[in-house]
């Protein structure tokens, strides 16, 4: 067997695990590992400009591929800078392994230079964490870390490695652990057949069914099966913010996103349905509105890999714990064998009702305004990219407009921080995607607020030649904050105006990137095309949009699903 140092084991393990890129930033406690990485060429290290960006890059990669992203940072500030990125991944159940350097083990607890209890700091926002006590443990601990991160309900795992575990001259036997088993961790392998049968019986008898699919469908690799199931049944589908793309948005059975900024028809249909099939979704507060008023006449079938997600906020009538692919396959085969269905007439009526709701709002916005409406900018981006780009988003109004108006037909293409709502996520996430899909168009839709939260990464883009397109919907305000201040604080815009914006043109010049400015409606499509035609360059598209615009529909606080504001002057 081969003898390797702890640092070398980490590099070798990553190679054996099939990790191509690791995103990170060096520092004292991680230097042995960095030296080991330098002496091999299989695993490529990507140097960011701030550790938070490393986590978002790994996260973007994970969201676009379903595979765990890998991060390497040093102890202390290096580790604490990853906290926001770890929490972002945790909230959205994204697989990620974060390897943190730590001070020498004999210094732990002495407040040594750059010492932070990273296992403690990260405890509430990780799926699990490990602390290495002996170099020989490294291969198995890393194997467990990748296994835990990517199996069951995925999530981030932290591995804390004291510097003396990676000493170059202390070598131990290395072999790649082919398999791993943990007596206290066995992700569900199969949904309960009796429950699945019960669910199918309910589905086939439903009069007003809704399929409510979330991010778990995408990460569980179940998008195709879900689409097949929905189309076989001809039932309406709504997606959560995290689930966009798991059902094709341009298909007629798609009713749009649901929830706080969901479509009128999706929210109405949910409220009036008699049966909800929830798949890989978690009934969070931005979906349900007031849980006591949630969908009063609906029975609920809830499929999830995580039993704790079931009946957490909304009680499920038929809970099914299992992998989405296996459960949906079993459902499909039961549906195939089912005799002719007697609910066809009801379903026809239901569609008539949904089509009527579609006429009420239908994603309308003011197209007669002289100003560029942010919705129009997103639609122009959709046209310029043939609706087929990877779109990473920051957080705020632009995120909601993109979710509403960029019609995602494929899974893994919509990359956004749904649960934590992390401003600064978009650019590094887009970079992580672009690095792994160099031939695809990758857009970061952002605002002039969010982009400044990780703008230092323009430098990383230059170093690695990452020609992402940054579409900045520039309204000179923290738009979502402003919207809430308009609606709830009589228009008092406390700290939501971004004074002293940088000259983005000069900034792009400084980083040797391209800049396109869009100021008028009539140049929207042409300029957008011009920007996307520059395939090999990062282009910052500074699009000046109407600062007065609000995101609608918007659910009325503490109301039911169907209670919505439809514009500044209309409500249901």
């Amino acid at each position: 067997m081969e003898l390797l140092s702890g640092g070398e084991m980490i590099a070798r393990f990553l190679k054996d695990e099939g990790v191509e890129y690791i995103y990170g930033y060096p520092g004292g406690a991680a230097l042995h590992i960095y030296d080991a990485l330098h002496r091999q060429s299989d695993v490529k290290h990507v140097l960011v400009r701030h550790e938070q960006a490393a986590t978002h890059m790994a996260d973007g990669y994970a969201r676009a591929t379903g595979k765990p992203g890998a991060v390497l940072v040093t102890s202390g500030p290096g580790a604490t800078n990853t906290v926001t990125g770890i929490a972002t991944a945790f909230m959205d159940s994204i697989p990620m392994v974060v390897i943190c350097g730590q001070v020498m083990s004999y210094l732990i607890g002495e407040d040594a230079f750059q010492e932070t209890d990273m296992v403690g700091v990260s405890r509430p926002i990780v799926k699990h964490s490990f602390s290495v006590k002996h170099p020989s443990e490294i291969p198995m601990i890393l194997k467990k870390a990748f296994y835990i991160a990517s199996s069951g309900r995925p999530g981030p795992v932290v591995v804390d490695i004291p510097k003396d575990m990676t000493m170059p001259n202390e070598k131990y036997e290395y072999s790649y652990p082919e398999s791993v088993s943990l007596r206290s961790y066995t992700p569900p392998a199969k949904g309960h057949s009796g429950q699945i049968k019960k669910a199918v019986d309910l589905l086939l008898a439903a009069k007003r069914p809704m399929i409510y699919a979330g991010g778990g469908v995408i990460m569980g690799g179940g998008s195709e099966l879900l689409t097949k199931l929905a189309q076989q049944l001809e039932y309406p589908v709504t997606n959560t913010l995290m689930g966009l793309g798991c059902y094709p948005a341009t298909d007629k059975q798609f009713t749009g996103m649901l929830g706080m900024h969901g479509s009128y028809e999706a929210n109405q249909a949910m409220h009036h349905s008699d049966l909800i099939l929830a798949v890989g979704a978690r009934f969070d507060d931005r979906v349900t509105n007031d849980p006591d008023k949630f969908c009063p006449s609906a029975k609920i079938i809830h499929i999830d890999i995580d039993p704790a997600s079931i009946s957490k906020t909304i009680r499920a009538d038929v809970p099914i714990v299992g992998p989405v692919t296996q459960v949906l396959e079993e459902m499909l085969s039961l549906i195939d064998d089912a005799p002719a269905r007697e609910n066809q007439e009801h379903i026809k009526e239901w569609w008539k009702q949904i089509d009527a709701w579609r006429q009420v709002h239908g994603g309308r916005y003011d197209t007669s305004s002289d100003k560029i409406k942010p919705q129009a900018a997103v639609e122009a981006c959709w046209r310029a990219t043939n609706g087929d780009a990877f779109v990473a988003s920051d957080v705020g109004q632009h995120q909601m407009f993109t979710a509403q108006y960029y019609k995602f037909d494929k899974p893994y293409r919509w990359i956004n921080s749904g649960g934590l709502g992390t401003m600064g996520f978009g650019l590094p996430a887009a970079m992580g995607v672009k690095m792994n899909f160099p031939d695809e168009t990758v857009v970061c839709v952002t605002g002039e607020g969010s982009i400044q939260m990780n703008i230092q990464e323009l430098s990383t883009c230059l170093q690695y030649g990452l020609p992402v397109k940054i579409l900045c919907l520039n309204n000179g305000y923290l738009g979502m904050v402003r919207q809430w201040q308009d609606m709830n604080y009589e228009g008092r815009h406390s700290n939501s105006y971004l004074d002293s914006l940088p000259e983005f043109k000069t900034l792009m010049d400084a980083y040797r990137h391209q800049y396109v400015e869009i100021r008028t409606k009539d140049e929207l499509d042409a300029k957008m095309e011009e920007a996307f035609a520059m395939k090999d360059q990062l282009v910052f598209i500074n699009c000046y949009v109407d600062p007065e615009e609000h995101v609608y529909p918007m659910q009325v606080p503490r109301g039911s699903m169907r209670d919505m504001f439809l514009s500044k002057t209309e409500r249901t």
């Binding site: 405890r123 509430p124 964490s129 602390s131 206290s184 704790a308 009680r315």
Partner: protein, 163 residues
């Protein structure tokens, strides 16, 4: 309602902090908590009591089960079970009070396990209610110190919580 949850978990550093952290993180309450290694040195047994509606307790057990360190758990209050708690009480007792404290200890089937001319240290074992009752019965006495272990519990009959 009060629940006694008994957890078998990996005897690893950090495991306890994950359990305790979960309770504060998710706004669950812990009334009592105790933890010690079992006959299998790789496993610890943790017993906690908590109050909550059925829905909250269901979430508590599900969230605990999600922790990688947790191997198995049981809500003892769901079935027939035995619970015990141990309490040490240091009480001032001189003159006529000495006889009265001694009588009270006998009634509660406790033991005096240490004494000085003016102090008794008493050990009482039983269900939490009994321990509360003993403290009440001491009423007028001058209690100097109370130490309770928190509840330990085990299912009745053949049911076991083991690997």
């Amino acid at each position: 309602m009060r629940h006694i949850i008994s957890v078998l978990m990996e005897n690893e550093p950090g495991a306890l902090s994950r359990v305790v952290g979960l309770f504060s993180q998710r706004n669950f309450n812990i009334e009592t908590l105790n933890v010690a290694p079992t006959d299998d040195p790789t496993l610890s047994r943790l017993t906690l009591t908590t109050f909550g509606s059925d829905q909250v307790v269901e979430q508590i057990t599900k969230q605990l089960n999600k922790l990688i360190d947790v191997v198995k758990l049981v809500d003892l209050t769901e079935g027939q079970h035995i619970e015990r708690e141990l309490m040490l009480v240091k009480v001032r007792a001189s003159g006529a009070q000495r006889a009265e404290v001694k009588r009270t200890v006998d009634i509660f089937r406790g033991n005096i396990i240490d004494m000085t001319p003016s102090i008794y240290t008493v050990q009482i074992i039983g269900e939490s209610d009994k321990l509360d009752g003993f403290l009440q019965a001491l009423g007028g006495m001058h209690i100097l110190e109370v130490v309770r272990t928190g509840v330990s519990g085990i299912a009745r009959g053949e049911k076991t919580l083991s690997l």
